[in-house]
Each structure stands twice: as structure tokens, then as C-alpha cells.
């Protein structure tokens, strides 16, 4: 006897459920507005969602360890402004160097969060609420509140994310690469496994010789690195850097994780879930205007979906049993 219905299975394999919903939505939108599902338009929508995907995957790692990183959007703004000003000062810098520089700055900002959580022992929500304002304040300090506009940026600086390769933008390819890399990291490295252990049962982690704080620190560094890189990509893609870049974007990132089935209590989640959660939000954002639904509905719909996701999460955690009888029947 099998106790898992199809629905039960779908709920316990969140990624499939989410994937199916996304396909259904695409079909629905495609029915009303066929041009939306043309390859070119889909590639554009994916490009628009790339940054959210990367940030959601990195945020997932932080959430797995029972922490949260609310400073990612401010990290984007600060790193973006740094590299934009750097580009103004040293226009000859190759784009790749700028990219590496942005990752470096991002890591430093992430590590600062991580140190406060690990060595000072402040709860991550407090730390990153603080640095969220601090980092955004720094953007104002280093820029004096001025904008860096497109005409001040060099063509090299602007070209990187937009260049296309096999019909997808480099930005899209970077998102795919980061997602794959983080997948391998979570499934096939000791650090990745330890991150799940830390969030799943911190006490047992200590008994297994896993330093809880150290792994929390590592996830903050990764989250910072990805956010820093996204800082450059964002500023370059939108061709402008200013204080309010990506304001409140961290909420979308966390929402993508929740929709993707990442447990806020830690220890449960997959990279695919986070990525699909981000794609789902990206789809809503890109598809609703096409079928003539106002942006205000977008907010309400995203909100509803998040509540629904939380309900499904708590349901699926209750599923599962041991199936003594089935064993016996075999």
C-alpha cells in the first residue's frame, strides 16, 4: 500500500510542483499573449530575472544555517557605486577586472556581517538590518549623493552583461553558471554538507566536529560575493549608479527562497528550489503587464503566493512516515 498520493509527492518535491506551476503559467500567458512565449522574449525575461536568481541561491545558503542576510540590496548599491566610481577614475580597467573587484568588495561586506554573527555572536537579523542601513549610508558618503550616469561609464564597463552568446546575454550565462556552481557546492563538497548540518541541528553539528559559527560566516561571505558581483552587473545593466539602487530588493530575494521551499527554520532547501522561486517571481513581474494586470496586483499576487508557499512548507514538513506494513508485505 502506498500512502503518497500524486499531490503528496508533488508537495514533498517542491521543485517539481513549482516547475509545473511555472509551465502552466507560461502556457496560460502564452494563450492570451502568444508573443510572450517566443524564445526572444523568454530570453529577455530570463535576463531580467538573472540577478534575482543568483541572489536567491546565495541567500538560500545563509537561510540554511538559520541566519538571514538582509544587507544584500545595500551591498549591491555600495559595490555598484564603488565600481562605477572606479570606472570613472580608471576608465581603462578591463571589464573582467571590474567584475573581480566587485566580487572582492562584496566578500568584504559579507565577511563583516559574518564576523559579527560568528565571533561577536549577534543574531544575523540584527546585524544585517544594521549593515543594510550602514552600507546604504556609505553609498551616499562616497558619491556625495550624486548619480553616476551612462555617459560617464566606459563602453567596456557597460558591454559585459549585455553581450550575447548563443542567444542569451552574458548576464544570463553568469546566472546559470552561478546556479550550477552553487548546486555542486551544496551537493558535492564537505562545506556544502556542513552548511545543511549546521542549520538542521546545530547541537548535533557541534558533536560532529562542525563549527557552527564558521559555516555561518562562510555563507555570509558567499552571499556577499554574489551580491557584490550583482552590484556591478546591476549598475552596468541599468547604466546608472545612485543611492537608491535596488532598494528593498532583499525582500524579493527572501521571498524567492520561501516560495522555493527553503525552510526559514534552517536545514531544508535546494538550489533548484531557490532558483525556481526566483524565476516564478520574475515571471509574475514580466507576464502580468503583458496580460494587462496592474503592477499593484503584482504585489498582492506575490504576497499571496508567499503565504501559500509558507502553508505548503509547513504541510510538507508534516508528511512522511515509516511504512512498516509495506516493508512487511514485500
Amino acid at each position: 500500500m502506498k500512502n503518497t498520493s500524486l499531490l503528496g509527492k508533488m508537495i514533498s518535491h517542491r521543485e517539481w510542483l513549482l516547475g509545473a506551476i511555472i509551465v502552466l503559467m507560461l502556457m496560460g500567458v502564452g494563450y492570451i499573449a502568444p508573443f510572450f512565449v517566443t524564445p526572444g522574449n523568454l530570453a529577455e525575461a530570463f535576463d531580467d530575472t538573472s540577478i534575482l536568481i543568483m541572489l536567491a541561491c546565495a541567500q538560500m545558503l545563509v537561510i540554511l544555517t538559520r541566519c538571514i542576510d538582509l544587507s544584500v540590496a545595500s551591498n549591491i548599491a555600495l559595490t555598484g557605486m564603488c565600481v562605477a566610481l572606479f570606472n570613472v577614475a580608471y576608465p581603462d580597467t578591463p571589464a573582467l577586472v571590474t567584475l573581480i573587484l566587485s566580487i572582492g568588495i562584496g566578500i568584504v561586506l559579507g565577511a563583516f556581517n559574518g564576523i559579527l554573527v560568528w565571533l561577536v555572536g549577534i543574531p544575523s537579523i540584527v546585524v544585517t538590518l544594521g549593515t543594510m542601513s550602514v552600507y546604504r549610508g556609505f553609498v551616499f558618503l562616497i558619491s556625495g549623493g550624486e548619480w553616476v550616469n551612462a555617459h560617464e561609464m566606459t563602453p567596456q564597463f557597460l558591454a559585459l552583461p549585455r553581450a550575447t552568446f548563443l542567444d542569451l546575454t552574458v548576464l544570463s550565462w553568469i546566472a546559470i553558471a552561478v546556479t550550477l556552481a552553487l548546486f555542486v557546492f551544496t551537493r558535492f563538497t564537505k562545506t556544502g554538507l556542513s552548511i545543511f548540518a549546521v542549520g538542521g541541528n546545530p547541537k548535533a553539528a557541534v558533536y560532529s566536529g562542525i563549527n557552527v559559527g564558521k559555516y555561518q560566516f562562510i555563507t555570509f561571505c558567499i552571499s556577499g560575493a554574489v551580491a557584490g558581483m550583482c552590484g556591478y552587473l546591476w549598475v552596468s545593466r541599468y547604466a546608472v549608479a545612485y543611492v537608491e539602487v535596488a532598494v528593498a530588493f532583499e525582500l524579493q530575494v527572501v521571498a524567492a527562497c520561501v516560495i522555493g521551499g527553503i525552510s526559514i527554520a534552517g536545514g531544508i532547501g535546494t538550489i533548484w528550489g531557490a532558483a525556481l522561486g526566483a524565476i516564478f517571481l520574475g515571471l509574475i513581474k514580466n507576464a502580468l503587464p503583458v496580460i494587462g494586470i496592474s503592477p499593484f496586483w503584482q504585489l498582492a499576487i506575490s504576497g499571496l503566493v508567499i503565504v501559500l508557499a509558507v502553508i505548503i512548507n509547513s504541510r510538507s514538513e508534516k508528511c512522511g512516515g515509516r511504512r512498516i506494513l509495506r516493508e512487511a508485505h514485500q
Partner: protein
């Protein structure tokens, strides 16, 4: 005699208000099994935690092969060849069995990535070696307490170590698994490993241990060869006085049926469960680990929905949908997994004991603390709870004392049917008699008790009738007069 591989000298460890270890010593020899014996709270598990780098001792020396070492973290213990099976389950419910086994020593492939294929194969081999029939790919949360425990053995065996520590390894196992464990211990011993074996059960201490060390209240009392002592000697060393070790069953008058269960089934865990429970009776449930006993009890308590069948309690239809319904109708359940299901570890003892009956202890919405304390004190005394005070958090109690808190918590609600799952698991010999005596008093007052136990002597000693389960079904029923150990064990194995 050969040199000890591990020697502890003057190890001390103090917690606020308790001297858990007071300059104790211990020697472990290669190829020998050393029993560590002591009452609940004597400091045994604390010593294990010192030895595995989880607690830093306040003072003293740890020598491995005559060289002093320091343990800063669990990784140091691993480096020095010490592996341990801890008393409380310290595992990861959301990770798979394989991931749990290899959590701190993974295999990698040529790219430096984790080689799950190899690890799954090794996990399978290890589980087969331990004779545990679980799928290495499923999440740990789907396993029973006992199977989780067996997986933790596999984890301890996955690292090559010269010293193996087992803190009450048989507490959640039944007859068959215990025999397997003995086999394992002997095999490890024959491979020349030094084994520290912590247990409250004297039959197993005499069966597989070569040496003993006794602690009392955090102090070293004595050690020597097991062949030179009797059980009475050891008990006298443990408690420093003589105790009644066995509580004889009182004859009670058994009355009318209070609860009847007919055809109770669950889609995947158990089927066709029929039984009656009478007033003043102790009904024993015996079976191998994973036979589905706890699942049935959880269904009676409204924790697990059932697919068919009916129940009556006190002549009225009984269909609990939540544990709250069951408690309201006078049925309570003391779960087996006390760490997760039984106690709120971060609350003090007295609040844990009075939690289910706060309604009765409050006046116009405010809790009457003085009465709360009185109730808690009464049960703590009756169960011989050892704690520095009743406001100590349950988290800080020794394993056995945590159990007593949970038992006290449910008994204090004055139920009319009480289900106890492994009531004396991890409880020392003196307190065990106290728990048995207490159960005897309860039935004498007209309560009915369902007792799930994997300990044959306990079942045979306490139960008026025994139901044996095998693979989710009732395999046999015995009246007190026709129970024999062989018949019960045979029925449990499905033979």
C-alpha cells in the same frame, strides 16, 4: 597487564551549582570492554563529552598512549582515534542516512568532490554489517528512534578508531538488536579496540564487559575486573547503600473494560489492532524495534490519523483528533523520544511537570506558583529526581533525570488511562524500582496502564497481559499465567 590506551587523571568539570566530575580517573585497555556504572546524574555522560572535546574539563589530564593530549573540539577526538555514540540522538533529521553516517569523514573522488556513490555503497555495507534493514537514501526523520540509534552506530564505525565509547547504547533497542549489538561489541573488542560501555542494565554488563569503573555523584569510587565482583557489590558502590532493586508486582483487582479498540488500522504503519483494556490493569506491548507499537500508541493519543477501526473509552466512542482531545478524556501518553516529544528542554523542571495541568493550577488566569511548586516537588520526590533545584532547566539534567521529568509531567495530570512508551529507558536501577512501584500504585488506585517496553524482564514482571506485535500487526497475546520468555520472543520475531 598491558598499558592502557587511554588514561584520565583527576578530571573535573563543574557546572553552575553542580560538580559533575570531581577529579575522576579512568583507564581503557585495548581489547577490553570497560563498563562505566553510576546512578542517573553520576557524571557518566559528562565524562563522555569531556573525552570527545565537547566540554573542556576544568582540570586534569587526558593521556593517549601515555602522551598528554588536549581536546578542543569534536574533530580532535576523531584525530586521536576516539569515536562515540552519544546518549542523546545527535543526528540530522533532514539529511539522509548516508549523509548522517559520513557527516564528518567523507570520501572524495578525483575532482575533490564528494563521492556519494562510494559513500552510499559503504553505508549499505556498514548497515548490513550491523544487520540494520534501512534504505541509506531516505531522510533520517523517517526512521524510528531505535533505527536512528543504529544509524549513529554506523556513523561511529565509519571512522577508524582505536577507542569506541557507547553511552547507553541499548536503551532504545529490543532483544534482537541487543544481541546484534553484543556481537558487534565483541567483534570490536577482538579487533583490539578499547571500548567504554555505559549502561544501567547489569545483565549486559556481566555479559560483555571485562572491567568496570564506578562513579558516584561525580566521584570515582572504584574499578577492577568484572569477574571479581557481584551485582550487589556494584550496586553498593554505585549508591553507597543497599537498595531494593526489584519491585515485586502487587496483586490488584482487575475490573471492567475501560477502553476497547477494534480493527484499528493505518494505511502504512499498522493493521487490525484489537484489544480491551480493563480497570486496574497493566497491559504490556512487546515487539521488536519497528514493530509499530509506538505508531499504534500515537494513534490512540490522536497524533496519527487512522484509516479504519473504532475505539471506546469509558463506554463512549473515542475519536481523538488531537492530543488535546485525548487528554481531555483522560488518556495520556508518555512518548519514547523524550528529548523531542516529551519535555520543553529550555523550561525549568517545575514548569515542565505542571504544563499539562496549568488550567487546574491557575486562579482567574494567574498561575498559582506555590501550588505549581508543590505538585512538582511531590512527583520529583516520588520519582527520585536528582537535580540541583526544581528551577533548573530540563536541558541541564542528566539523560535519566530528563526521563523522570517527562513521566512526572503526565502522571501529575491524574489521567484514567496512561500509555507509557519505554518507561524505564535510561533509568538507573534504584529509580527503576521506584518507577515500577509508582506504576503499581497507579493501578491499585484504579488507573489502567498500557506499557510499551522492549525489556523482557520488565514486561514479564509488570504486565497482567501482554500483546506482542510483529510488523504492524498483533502476533500473539499472553495472559500473565501463560507467559514465557521464549514464547514472547518467538512471537515477536514472527517465527
Amino acid at each position: 597487564m598491558n598499558r592502557p590506551v587511554l588514561e584520565l587523571r583527576n578530571i573535573s568539570k563543574t557546572f553552575p551549582g553542580v560538580k559533575a566530575l570531581d577529579s575522576v580517573e579512568l583507564q581503557l585497555y585495548p581489547g577490553q570492554v570497560t563498563a562505566l556504572i553510576g546512578e542517573n546524574g553520576a557524571g557518566k555522560s559528562t565524562l563522555v563529552k569531556v573525552l570527545t572535546g565537547i566540554y573542556a574539563p576544568d582540570g586534569g589530564e587526558i593521556l593517549i598512549d601515555d602522551a598528554p593530549v588536549t581536546m578542543q573540539a569534536a574533530t580532535d577526538a576523531k584525530r586521536h582515534g576516539i569515536s562515540a555514540i552519544h546518549q542523546e540522538a545527535v543526528m540530522f533529521d533532514e539529511l539522509t542516512v548516508t549523509e548522517n553516517i559520513f557527516i564528518n569523514n567523507q570520501n572524495r573522488n578525483i575532482f575533490g568532490l564528494l563521492d556519494w556513490k562510494l559513500m552510499r555503497k559503504r553505508a549499505k555495507t556498514l548497515l548490513e554489517y550491523l544487520d540494520v534493514n534501512v534504505d541509506p537514501n531516505i531522510p533520517l526523520r523517517e526512521l524510528s528512534v531505535a533505527h536512528k540509534h543504529l544509524v549513529s552506530f554506523a556513523a561511529a564505525l565509519s571512522v577508524s578508531s582505536s577507542i569506541v565509547i557507547m553511552d547507553e547504547p541499548t536503551a532504545s533497542l529490543s532483544h534482537h538488536e541487543i544481541q546484534e549489538l553484543y556481537r558487534l561489541v565483541r567483534r570490536l573488542r577482538d579487533e583490539g579496540k578499547a571500548i567504554l560501555f555505559i549502561s544501567h542494565k547489569f545483565d549486559e554488563i556481566f555479559e560483555i564487559c571485562d572491567r568496570y569503573t564506578v562513579f558516584r555523584d561525580g566521584q570515582f569510587v572504584g574499578s577492577g575486573g568484572i569477574a571479581d565482583v557481584t551485582q550487589d557489590d556494584l550496586v553498593a558502590m554505585m549508591v553507597g547503600r543497599t537498595v531494593s532493586q526489584i519491585y515485586p508486582k502487587e496483586q490488584t483487582t482487575i475490573g471492567d473494560t475501560v477502553m476497547s479498540v477494534k480493527g484499528l488500522s493505518h494505511p502504512s504503519e499498522f493493521a487490525d489492532i484489537d484489544f480491551d483494556l480493563r480497570k486496574g490493569e497493566i497491559l504490556g506491548f512487546y515487539g521488536l524495534v519497528g514493530a509499530g507499537r509506538s505508531e499504534v500508541m500515537q494513534a490512540l493519543f490522536g497524533l496519527t490519523p487512522t484509516s479504519s477501526g473504532s475505539m471506546e473509552l469509558n463506554g463512549k466512542p473515542f475519536k481523538p483528533r488531537t492530543p488535546g482531545d485525548a487528554v481531555d478524556q483522560g488518556l495520556v501518553y508518555v512518548p519514547e523520544d523524550r528529548q523531542h516529544q516529551g519535555a520543553i528542554l529550555t523550561l525549568p523542571i517545575f514548569q515542565n511537570i505542571t504544563l499539562p495541568q496549568l488550567g487546574g493550577l491557575s486562579r482567574s488566569g494567574f498561575i498559582d506558583m506555590a501550588r505549581e511548586y508543590d505538585v512538582a516537588r511531590e512527583y520529583a520526590t516520588r520519582l527520585q529526581l536528582k537535580a540541583s533545584s526544581l528551577s533548573e532547566n530540563v536541558e541541564n539534567l542528566s539523560g535519566g533525570n530528563q526521563q523522570k521529568v517527562v513521566i512526572g509531567k503526565w502522571l501529575a495530570t491524574n489521567p484514567n488511562v496512561i500509555i507509557v512508551d519505554e518507561p524505564t529507558k535510561g533509568i538507573d536501577i534504584g529509580s527503576k524500582a521506584a518507577v515500577h512501584k509508582f506504576m503499581g500504585e497507579l493501578v491499585a488506585q484504579g488507573l489502567s496502564v498500557i506499557m510499551v517496553s522492549s525489556e523482557l524482564p520488565e514486561v514479564m514482571g509488570m504486565a497482567d497481559r501482554v500483546i506482542v506485535m510483529h510488523e504492524g500487526r498483533i502476533a500473539a497475546r499472553f495472559e500473565r499465567d501463560d507467559m514465557t520468555a521464549e514464547a514472547i520472543v518467538t512471537a515477536a520475531t514472527g517465527a
